[in-house]
Symmetry: D2
Subunit: 331 residues, 4 copies
């Protein structure tokens, strides 16, 4: 008998009944295979992370804020479903835009293919910038520019900032409680954004630096991130979409001092991605591959859900939240 065959479990078909809550549906998917089984497994792993004093690092790539995931992410921060966030500059830019009272708009005709419903050259003429089936207007970016410039002007001219400190300075100026940046400041959840130059914040930094000093160090943040990892009792990674956030979180595990003998890498890892491994890109790389590097521990509980994060994330959060609430009411 091979090792694999000892670990077989009967597929148990999902049943849909009346008035299921999200977690009841997820539990029905536990016995299923393919994506359904992996989605259910992700909830189980997340639940264990939350119950086991785990420091939870979330990586956010992809335009999740424009797509409407901002409230969910901000709430995850406020409720400490995550303890550290690494993200792209774009998600922060769009978070600020909403915090300033500007909006994203959805192209209603774009039910199945955003590209079919629009003429991008005409959108350009109207000052409408497209992210698949979402539109942002140039006015929103003008508001952003004023705001960011205002933040820059209040910064100390003598200090060298880390990127995290710069983001904290921005977050402190936002009054919208649903803002990711504001929530992070309020909840003392650090936000890292190693590629911040690669965003509108970077562009405005360039403009500002034409006339005024502004010093932001490319490497200063690494110490904080590595310290958090090193001091954690257990570590978990929730990777939404790959890119720089995924690697920045995982590379931390490469260098953080070993906590105890025989342990290395993240103890838990959940990855939600639409990329697949076949082209060799990191965004689609399996969590197994991460084990060869020591990024994910050899005995880690880990699962990849190949799914649009705008579908998988709300389900996972709703289900795990239900479990946490139930846990509270237990005697």
């Amino acid at each position: 008998m091979t090792k694999e065959l000892e670990r077989l479990k009967e597929v148990k078909g999902a049943k849909i009944v009346e008035n299921m809550n999200v977690d009841e549906l997820v539990k029905e998917l536990r016995g299923c295979a393919f994506g359904a089984g992996r989605l259910a497994k992700a909830v189980d792993i997340y639940e264990e992370m939350l119950n086991e004093e785990t420091t939870k690092f979330m990586g956010i790539a992809g335009a999740l804020v424009p797509a409407g995931m901002r409230n969910i992410i901000a709430e995850m921060i406020r409720e400490r479903y995550v303890d550290v966030v690494v993200t792209t500059g774009a998600n922060l830019v769009h978070d600020i835009i909403e915090a300033l009272g500007e909006h994203h708009y959805k192209i209603e005709a774009a039910d199945e293919n955003a590209d079919v419903a629009v003429d991008d050259v005409r959108l350009r003429e109207h000052g409408s910038d497209r992210i698949y089936d979402v539109i942002v207007h140039d006015e929103a970016f003008a508001r952003l520019e004023d705001f960011i410039r205002g933040v820059f002007e209040k910064l100390s001219r003598k200090k060298r900032y880390s990127i995290k400190e710069l983001l904290t300075a921005i977050g402190e100026k936002l009054s919208d409680r649903n803002s990711i940046l504001r929530s992070a400041v309020d909840s003392e959840v650090p936000i890292f954004c190693p590629a911040i130059a690669d965003s509108m914040i970077g562009l405005h930094a360039w403009i500002y630096k034409q006339t005024s000093p502004l010093e932001v160090d490319a490497f200063d943040d690494m110490k904080d991130l590595i310290d958090i990892f090193s001091e954690a009792k257990r570590t978990g990674a929730i990777i939404l979409g790959g890119g720089v956030p995924k690697n920045f979180i995982f590379q931390t595990a490469l260098i953080a001092p070993s906590r105890e003998e025989g342990r290395e890498g993240f103890d838990y890892a959940i990855q939600i991605t639409t990329n697949t491994p076949e082209d060799g890109s990191l965004s689609g790389a399996t969590l197994e591959e991460a084990k060869s590097w020591g990024k994910v521990g050899g005995k880690a509980k880990a699962v990849t859900v190949y799914c649009d994060a705008t579908i998988a994330l709300p389900i996972i959060v709703a289900a795990v939240r239900e479990r946490m609430e139930e846990g509270k009411h237990k005697p």
Copy 2:
């Protein structure tokens, strides 16, 4: 102002609250973009199909039965959430296997990548056949063979069967109420399988025909399918995964007599697929493309959800079922 910009709607971020049922979550996704918005739209379209006397054609490709979707599909048939099914031979084979009391097994180690957890040559030695992270044992196929042979032997030697009639004969012999084939017989939902030769049923037909006559016509089913389409008041397509089932359903619309002037093609269409259009394959083709052919009506309500069907189907069915139950209780 361009036509597109008149149809913009503010993105409204999803909120997760305590104890949400599946439909409440789906309604939160309505204001979101990307996959989340399309998933919510699929539920809205399906609800309208169910409320508007629509004849609903479901295409099933991909190994949904081995993955654990059998109960959901059988229930959709029994509850008449679908009125016609077109599927691959493989899904029927695996339905029969379960109806005979055999099982599918899930490779528990295969959390993120089925291929990593197994040695397929060793599986072969153990008579274990793999479908991604699912295993079927050779014994199950031996049971299938006996059963199918028994059905063939009871068929009239004088009659020429259509594929649908052959499937009905099989379904009648199954006693498992959760079987797709049995449910279809019980509920008078016709099942079509144009590529039946491309399945274990086909292989056993070949063996049987070595010694006994068995005549099954490749084209006879088309009349029934076209008649159903022609006589329908409204038509809806639910396409899970492309392939032959998608085309066979859609081509029906090409030839069915126009019901009234100016109307052609399906009135509603929902497509759940992981294929994308860029390589020109039909499985990834947009429903917009289908409009150029007249397969989907120019004014049809249509949406494609780019998602693993084992994730999207349970959510859609749970949500729409909730709405139907609510509808029943309205005064």
Copy 3:
């Protein structure tokens, strides 16, 4: 030292020099990883198939004929780079259309996204049917109808045809030497199309059968295919795009009598696909998975190239052809 690490080979970067022929480029890719390495491996495997008296089965799914791959496929048949073809009805329909002097047209604006350049409802009004960035006009299908009806009328009313015989009857009536169907007749390469009902040929069979008898058996072809497999000295599969053709070729190996002890499944397999395994669909299933079934031999030489077949096929054919020509000139 683990088994894996004994089989490591230094990555040798590709170099581009002046005036490389296609095979020289492919040989440069041999030392590369990811898709490049697999493409080069596919050529090596194909070369070995051609040199080792292998019966070569080619599966063709996806709209390769509309995309412009018809000449290449027809030539592969005429030159016996393939010995058996299994395809979708659609590819045959479009082959006939071109053989009748009708054409496919390319939407020139659709450089990067076919869907962006067109209004499918307007296309419909103009009788233009779209396949991603390709257009076929309704007139072409009208010509097809006349032709197919003519073929049906010449068929014997007493005979029960296999699908292969029906396709042979069609091919014999085509005079275009570049036709796939005609080339197959000329070269005695059998063409199988198990899902023929799922095509315009199927639709016209339905119309014809309203008034005249036409009997085509769904299962009769299997014997021929299995006999060819059983009698082959060595067997090779070239799978373009998955679907029914992939499974129909591979299932043959499940039932064909073992040729000698310890041997089963295809000896060589090349798969070109844009599908990936993660959603459990057969079209994306690895050739490793096929080994667990005995479809591909445990010691087979096999490679999957994850690539649009319209890119990979011409390269592979050009490269392997170059090698065959070189082989001829050797003393």
Copy 4:
């Protein structure tokens, strides 16, 4: 007649003849649709870029160096097929590793699925780090560490470096002519890497900064990049794989002073990616979408090739190089 239908062109099937050079094959693909047509179009656009005094920006994401594309990229720099490079830290790290005489290794068994051939936990025990089907040994990273530390120690302690200056300092220390970084120094092609912190270089910067000062500014590079764009007569983007490099190149166009009235965005753009637009991520976003932002000009010549870059890049470079050579010999 609609606008689209005026621009139809007959699909002209590709023909393979004996001893074709790469460009002859590409020219055969010009008349084809789907990926084949787009690949041919990419070569035509690149040729025009090279003939029309275009400043060419290349973005490199994905592990192209480990896969064996290093020589090709270095040669593109040396021969000024590109004028500016934006890349991930990882590609630079692997370039340095090879320049130091260390190697990447290919898992030979991993013909179709890298994950199947290895046990990542065992690889970890052997100090072997996996990138899909490529292995790098820990020793290579130890060599890298020594080297990088040596470079850091030679830096001026008083100066604040831009990331580009840091990369130049590294490149100057490399003696391998085939190195990307060395070639860039030699050819005065600037290399930008906005997310450098997200790489082994970043990790070693963190270690170094524990004990010694090292000041690298996150934003200083933007000025150079924007100046190059602003001063260019014409601009072209060659985007391999999305991510930060894609956005960093394109965002430059958002802010660079308009060169003349009515002109904005890149004049040419070629994108090679395996991501598709449906999940809203930037890596899969169409070049059409980029037009709505003004990143790509409304009249730009632009094409996306959906393909593994390790396949498409060598073909494109070989073909366009052939054309340039031919051009030289013209009277």
